[in-house]
Symmetry: C4
Subunit: 204 residues, 4 copies
């Protein structure tokens, strides 16, 4: 908030308010898809047990949204201005985010179906590409970033951000070989991003 | 946020917090209307294919909300104060926004039905008129805007904002001739607003 | 936001973030209760027509939430600090707000049923009393307000805020005589608050 | 908001925006689980009466979320920075929060079932441990807190925060003896936190 400049038009603060709102709602709705089984008084444990694939997809989706949010969040350490095309790039990114509860619920219901796997993978690939475009547009010629933003941070962030959509694309293609392999890749990507990287040194 | 003044009562910051919250939720709920088909293990591709009209309405709705949000957002580059009538104008605008998931889902379900088309068109016409009223009220006699707001910005914004409700009204009327023509107009309006206009020069 | 002080513990900014979030979601969910009629291709106009009572309750609920939000909003022109009991008073107020989509949907479904009318009235009476308590707690001995807050503003706000719960209580009791009279009172209260009062002069 | 520092990377402001958004939505959705009974025109009082266990679970859940929010909120009087592991600790805490509407609805539907009681208790135990970890990580070696944070506040907060998960764990175990005893403990914990403690003196 205090990182935004207001000279020159469109403020980044409201953009972040919209983005944080969308992430908050998407994360909550993802879990909200888990419904309490009805009429299961006699065998509640069993009914809850049958929810495990949905529960797993939900947990994976939550971690995945967490890592998307952190990725978006970290770029605004440098980004301090917006313009109209940039707002639309954000809306494209946020649109992919909003589809996550759908893709995630699809994967929770039809866990090993290649169509469900590819829908989820395509959704995350698009979200990742949008986030790469987001950083690339903002930093080209220092367009929307602080003047002191170092070329090293620009490049390190690019390399870190592009890893995700490449991984999701490869993970989706893997489902031709083995659906389980795809699922392992989908789980491994966000978890691998929990590990701090070279970018974090720049953020310090 | 940093664009708001607090001398003189009601702050614009909370108004924007409410507005951004409503846009975030409406955008997310719009997509949340897409439901994972149940019991479609044998023919998932086909079942997802049948979702295309809903998916299309959802995408259109998302872009449309994006352009409404940007329209509202940009006015606050100039607007820095609020008063009680202005809060109610906002509530009228936000009310039309909240109806969007309904109108959009209606259009996704009954795509070529004139009643669905006119409901959607009327909703967007009202939202656009509310946004025009919003700008017009705030700028009349410099009521709620920065003192340095130029008459050129006031006029250029008015011309840009009024284009949308006029377009939606004409688009709705067109459904007497051809429902497809209406749908093309409804899709063309938000897309046409992605193109920066004279207003953007003032925002710089 | 810029109206908050941070010396002395708990900040009012996050309280307002929570409150604005809850209002935004409640307003959106209220409208989300309107569901697109299924399988009505042959008689869409008629099916939408049958939604009118729900549509009316939804519009009334939206205006009512708008007036509650403005009431809460305006108190923070003076309130700049929080303490633990005050957070809980807010949670009580926000709890009544969260019940509004339920009460409102109940009224939309069983419009003339005295139980639905009294549930709605009781909900709004409690919300109004919580808001009165909110102001009264914050201003007693200048506990949480700006030092320059005038006793006239404290008193004028008290008189304005108490009007609503008294009105809702009387409106609820009226349903013994005539359910329609109750509904008229419930609609008249928020509309009467659109008119600026003596409080607005103090807010200037 | 004004309590955050921005030198050194990741801002706490957006983290709080996400957290407040998630609490706002979770609180609202909790109540949204209460559905208006359909086709009950002849016996509405009776149908609403049958909702009492759900209503009770909903009220308990709301108070419980309120106390979790206040617990998280109060830690940010001292916490002014974030880093990547801390963001993930927050995501773990917010994940437990997002599961609350599910656990709470489960308890509202199968009130005396040990599985429902233990699911609710486990959820709240995990949320409490995450909040303890949150404070502990932020304060170890003054990692993310204001330099003037006193060791007394660190310790008093630790003791206050740990009380909740210990209580929920014991409450869950009690259901082997009596489900009612567990429910009493679950209700008593958040209510006991309404009482200001030693921490509040430090917050002054």
């Amino acid at each position: 908030m205090e990182q935004t400049e207001t000279t020159g038009g469109l403020s980044a603060a409201r953009l972040l308010a919209l983005a944080d709102g969308i992430f908050a709602i998407t994360m909550t709705l993802l879990v909200f898809e888990l419904k309490v089984p009805e009429g299961a008084a006699a065998h509640l444990g069993q009914s809850l047990g049958a929810l495990w694939p949905k529960f797993g997809a939900c947990l994976l989706g939550f971690i995945t949204l967490g890592f998307s949010w952190i990725g978006h969040h970290n770029q605004y350490v440098a980004i301090v201005r917006t313009d109209r095309p940039f707002l639309w790039i954000n809306i494209a990114f946020l649109g992919s985010t909003c589809f996550m509860p759908f893709s995630s619920a699809l994967l929770g219901t039809y866990t090993f179906d290649p169509i469900a796997i590819c829908t989820y993978g395509a959704n995350m690939t698009l979200a990742g590409l949008a986030l790469y475009w987001h950083w690339s547009y903002a930093t080209t010629g220092g367009r929307l970033v602080r003047t002191e933003t170092s070329p090293e941070l620009v490049k390190a962030t690019k390399l870190r951000v592009i890893r995700a959509p490449v991984g999701y694309l490869l993970g989706s293609l893997l489902c031709g070989v083995s659906p389980i392999a795809s699922l392992v890749v989908f789980a491994a990507i966000p978890i691998s991003f929990i590990i701090p990287g070279r970018v974090d040194r720049h953020l310090k």
